[in-house]
Every structure is written in structure tokens, then in C-alpha cells.
């Protein structure tokens, strides 16, 4: 049998324009998130009470946990990055877990992960500029031990979005290829056991890693 491996997403045409299947999957994930948030707003947020109960408890636990996780590492900048971190984690989790249902993962496409990497880059720099009160302070922060390290630190900061993009892309792509290989060799029973690792566990790890990387890069930018 022939395995199909390609760096390019499968074509998908909307009105004669090729947008790629992965873009469609990204839109589906966005639609799910928007519907879920509207439902949450109508059912939970409108009826919030001073003493939480039920679903409000879970929501407050999530948001509070994320704020505490961020502020433990970046201090006051947690106000800037926590919403972005939670958003990125939700998006990465939904698009990566789609692979479990036989759909192509949006993060299997380099376009999607580069966009995520640029989001991380902008977030980190906004947090850094805010913490240092403008460009002058940020440049001074980049020169911190001695001015010699300035170019090295600038290059390190500019490499960050590429690193985030390629690691996410490579992880999801390789997991997909390995699952295809396992399906090709043993089509029954065995893939289920491996899917638990390569689809569910891997999605969780990638979600955690994208949040952790954003926080770590921010903590480097504000020091």
C-alpha cells in the first residue's frame, strides 16, 4: 500500500478558491469555541452569584488556576498574558484532538502553527514593552548583563516564533504519520492502544507546552 505524506495541506475549494482543508478545520474549531462561549455566557455568566456553585465553580477554578500559574512565573504581567495563554491552549487542544475523530488536525499545517507562533511573539513583546514602560526600557532590558549580549538576545527573541511553530507542526505531523503506519501494519485493536498516546496524550502535552512556552518567553522578556 502507498502512504500519502505531504508537507502541504489537502486542497479544499470554497467558491473556486483553494483554502486548504486545515483552514476549514481551524474555522470549525473557532465555531465550536464561539458557540460554547455564547452558551456559557447565557447559562452561567449571566447567573453568577457571590457564592459560587456548580458550573460557576469549575469556571472560576479554571480561570483562577491559569492566573495563578502565570503570576507565579511572570508576576504582574500575568494580567496581559493569561487571557492569551488560555485562548491559545483552547485552540491548540481543539484543533489537535480533532485527529482522534478521523479529521485532519489544523495544526498539521505549517500555516496554522506559524500564525500561532506570531501570536506568541506579539504577546511576549507587548508584555515586555508594558513591563519596561516603552521601547527604551525594553532595549535596556535586552542589554541587561552587558551590551555585548544584545544581538544574541534579539536573535533569540526572533527565533522564538519559528521554534514554537515548527515544534508544534512537527509533533502533530509525526504523530499523524506514526498512526498511519500503525494502521497500515495492524488495522485492528492495536491502533486503539496507540491512539490513546499519540492522539489524546499528545494533544494534552502540546496544549501544556504552548502555554508553558508563552509564559517562559514572557518571563525572559520582562526580566
Amino acid at each position: 500500500m502507498q502512504l500519502e505524506v505531504s508537507l502541504y495541506p489537502e486542497p479544499f475549494y470554497v467558491g473556486g478558491v483553494n483554502v486548504g482543508l486545515s483552514v476549514l478545520m481551524g474555522w470549525c474549531a473557532l465555531a465550536i469555541v464561539i458557540v460554547g462561549l455564547v452558551l456559557l455566557n447565557l447559562l452561567v455568566v449571566r447567573r453568577m452569584k457571590a457564592v459560587p456553585s456548580g458550573a460557576q465553580n469549575v469556571l472560576e477554578l479554571m480561570v483562577d488556576g491559569a492566573y495563578r500559574w502565570c503570576s507565579g512565573k511572570v508576576g504582574d504581567s500575568a494580567n496581559v498574558i493569561t487571557p492569551v495563554v488560555l485562548t491559545l491552549m483552547t485552540y491548540v487542544f481543539l484543533t489537535t484532538i480533532a485527529e482522534m475523530f478521523g479529521l485532519p488536525a489544523a495544526t498539521q499545517d505549517l500555516n496554522c502553527t506559524i500564525a500561532i507562533g506570531l501570536c506568541v511573539f506579539v504577546t511576549v513583546n507587548v508584555a515586555g514593552l508594558k513591563h519596561h514602560h516603552g521601547l527604551k526600557g525594553r532595549i535596556k532590558g535586552l542589554c541587561s548583563p552587558s551590551p555585548i549580549v544584545f544581538p544574541i538576545r534579539v536573535v533569540t527573541d526572533c527565533i522564538a516564533p519559528c521554534s514554537v511553530a515548527i515544534r508544534l507542526f512537527a509533533n502533530v505531523m509525526v504523530a499523524g504519520i506514526v498512526m498511519q503506519l500503525i494502521y497500515a501494519v495492524v488495522p485492528i485493536a492495536l491502533p486503539a492502544a496507540f491512539a490513546a498516546y499519540f492522539n489524546i496524550f499528545d494533544a494534552g502535552i502540546q496544549t501544556f507546552v504552548i502555554g508553558l512556552l508563552t509564559i517562559i518567553y514572557t518571563s525572559e522578556a520582562i526580566e
Partner: protein
């Protein structure tokens, strides 16, 4: 002949995983020692260990991606 060379190249690319594995073993071992010595610093040690592990894992995944691309894309062109 060419196909065999492609296979050897893919194998060499995947060797990068050995280095990543050694690094991961070292880091985890040292972190365990550090936690045994200072259990109250476990949280901080764990988070920096996680960061290091992620970096090493990235390196290994790059190698795996390169070797898989060599096998499938280069191999498909030859065959």
C-alpha cells in the same frame, strides 16, 4: 542503490534521538537528586525541568521529522 543510501541517511538523521535521550536521562536524574536534597524547592525544580525536557524533546522531534520526510518524500521521488 540510491534507495539504500536514502535509508541510511534517514537512519543517521534519527540518531539525534540518542543524544536527546541521554540529555533527558541526565536532566531527570539530576532533578530527582535535587528534589531529594531540597524537597521544599520541588515546584521550581519541576518547572525548570519541564522547560529543559521540552527543548530536548523538540530536538528529537525535529530529527524524527527530518528522517520521516527523507523516507517518504525523497523515497517517493526515487521509486
Amino acid at each position: 542503490m540510491t534507495l539504500g543510501l536514502i535509508a541510511i541517511g534517514a537512519g543517521i538523521a534519527a540518531l539525534c534521538g540518542a543524544g536527546a535521550a541521554i540529555g533527558m536521562g541526565n536532566a531527570t536524574g539530576r532533578a530527582t537528586e535535587a528534589i531529594a536534597r531540597q524537597p521544599e524547592a520541588a515546584g521550581k525544580i519541576n518547572s525548570s525541568l519541564m522547560f529543559g525536557l521540552i527543548m530536548m524533546e523538540t530536538c528529537a522531534v525535529y530529527a524524527l521529522l527530518v528522517s520521516i520526510l527523507i523516507v517518504f518524500i525523497l523515497g517517493a521521488k526515487v521509486v
